[in-house]
C-alpha cells in the first residue's frame, strides 16, 4: 500500500499545521454563542475554515443572509480555480468518487495533488486517504478547541499563527521550476498587496490570483504545451 503510505507521509505536516487553527475556530465559535451541535454541523458540512470565520462573524452581527452568502462566496471563490485545475488529475475517478472528491477539495488537498501529479498519477486511494486525515483532524481539533477553548489562550505568542502561511509559501517556492514562475509570482504578489491595501481582504486572493493566471495565459505560446507537460 505505497499509496496509503505516501498519503500519510504527505498529510502529517498538514494536519499538524491545521490543528491549532481548527481548535481556535472551535473555541471562537463557542465563545461567540454557537452551540456545540451548530459548530459541528458547520465544520462538518462546509469544511472551509476562512469562510466559516466570516459566516460566524457576520451572523452574530445580525447581517442579512444574502450579504453573508456573498461574503462566503468571495472568500471561497479561489476553489473554482482549484476545481478547474483538478480536471488534469481527477480523470481516473468515477462520477461518485468525483462528487465526494469535490467536497473534500480544500487548500492543502489541492496544493498537494497539484505538486504530486507531475511525477505520479493521483489515485482515489491516495486522494481519499489524505482527505480522510485532513477531515478527521479538522473535526477532532474543532471539538477539542470547543471543549478546552478557555485553556488555549493566545496562540500568536508561540508563532503558531504563521504555520499555514509558511506551508503555502514553501509550496509556492516548490513550483519555482514551472514555466513563467517569476512573472506569475511578481504579478500575483503585486496585485494582491495592492488590493489588500485598497479594496481589502478577501479580494486580494481573488484579484491577485486571477491576474497571475491571466498573465500566464497571455504569455503562453502554442509550442509550449510539451514543455508544460514535462515541467
Amino acid at each position: 500500500m505505497a499509496e496509503v503510505r505516501d498519503a500519510l507521509k504527505d498529510v502529517l505536516p498538514v494536519v499538524g499545521a491545521m490543528a491549532p487553527y481548527s481548535a481556535v475556530f472551535g473555541a471562537l465559535a463557542i465563545d461567540q454563542g454557537l452551540t456545540l451541535t451548530e459548530l459541528l454541523v458547520t465544520s462538518g458540512s462546509i469544511f472551509a475554515v476562512a469562510s466559516q470565520y466570516v459566516m460566524v462573524d457576520l451572523m452574530l452581527q445580525g447581517l442579512p443572509i444574502w450579504s453573508i452568502l456573498l461574503a462566503v462566496l468571495a472568500v471561497n471563490f479561489r476553489h473554482v480555480l482549484y476545481s478547474a485545475a483538478s480536471v488534469r488529475w481527477l480523470g481516473g475517478f468515477s462520477r461518485k468518487q468525483k462528487a465526494l472528491a469535490f467536497f473534500l477539495l480544500c487548500d492543502p488537498q489541492y496544493a498537494t495533488c497539484e505538486a504530486r501529479h507531475v511525477s505520479k498519477p493521483i489515485t482515489p486511494i491516495y486522494y481519499f486517504t489524505y482527505a480522510a486525515c485532513v477531515y478527521g483532524g479538522w473535526m477532532i481539533s474543532n471539538l477539542l478547541g470547543a471543549v478546552f477553548g478557555k485553556l488555549l489562550g493566545d496562540i500568536n505568542r508561540f508563532g503558531l499563527d504563521l504555520i499555514l502561511p509558511m506551508f503555502f509559501a514553501v509550496l509556492v517556492f516548490g513550483f519555482r521550476k514551472k514555466p513563467r514562475f517569476a512573472i506569475v509570482l511578481i504579478v500575483s504578489v503585486s496585485i494582491s498587496v495592492l488590493t489588500f491595501f485598497t479594496i481589502g481582504s478577501p479580494w486580494h486572493i481573488t484579484l491577485g490570483g486571477l491576474s497571475g493566471i491571466l498573465v500566464a495565459a497571455v504569455l503562453s505560446k502554442p509550442s509550449s504545451e510539451l514543455e508544460i507537460q514535462h515541467a
Binding site: P13, G16, E38, V41, S45, I46, F47, A48, S51, Q52, M59, I65, V72, N76, F77, H79, V80, L81, S83, A84, A85, K98, F102, D107, R157, F158, G159, L162, P165, M166, F167, F168, A169, V170, V172, F173, G174, K178, R180, F181, V184, S188, S192, V193, F196, H204, I205, L207, G208, G212, I213, L214, A216, A217, V218, S220, P222, E225, I228, A231
Partner: protein, 98 residues
C-alpha cells in the same frame, strides 16, 4: 434555532458549488487550448502567493524573516522540520523584538 441551520446549509451549498463548478465547466468545454492550460498551470503559484503576500508585506518584519528562512530551509530538508524550525525562530524573534 432553525434559521442558523438554513444559513449553514446555504453556505455549505455555495462551498460545494465552487469546489465542483470549475471542474464541471472545464469538462463540459472539452479539449483545452494552450492558453487555458498555461493559466491552469499557474493557478497554484498565483493563488497561493496572493494568499500569503499580505502576511509577508503587512505583518511585522519577523514574520517575513521566518517565512523566507523556512523557504530556504525547504531546499535542504523536508517541510515538517523546516516549518518547526521556522516557528521556533519566529517565537524567539517575537519574544525579543515585539
Amino acid at each position: 434555532m432553525p434559521d442558523t441551520y438554513v444559513l449553514i446549509f446555504l453556505c455549505a451549498l455555495i462551498t460545494y458549488g465552487v469546489r465542483s463548478g470549475g471542474h464541471i465547466l472545464m469538462a463540459y468545454f472539452g479539449a483545452v487550448n494552450h492558453r487555458i492550460e498555461a493559466g491552469l498551470n499557474a493557478v497554484p503559484i498565483a493563488v497561493l502567493s496572493a494568499l500569503v503576500a499580505p502576511t509577508i508585506v503587512a505583518g511585522h518584519w519577523s514574520d517575513a524573516v521566518a517565512i523566507i528562512v523556512v523557504c530556504l530551509l525547504s531546499l535542504r530538508i523536508s517541510i515538517l522540520p523546516a516549518i518547526a524550525i521556522g516557528v521556533l525562530l519566529l517565537a524567539i524573534l517575537r519574544h525579543m523584538f515585539v
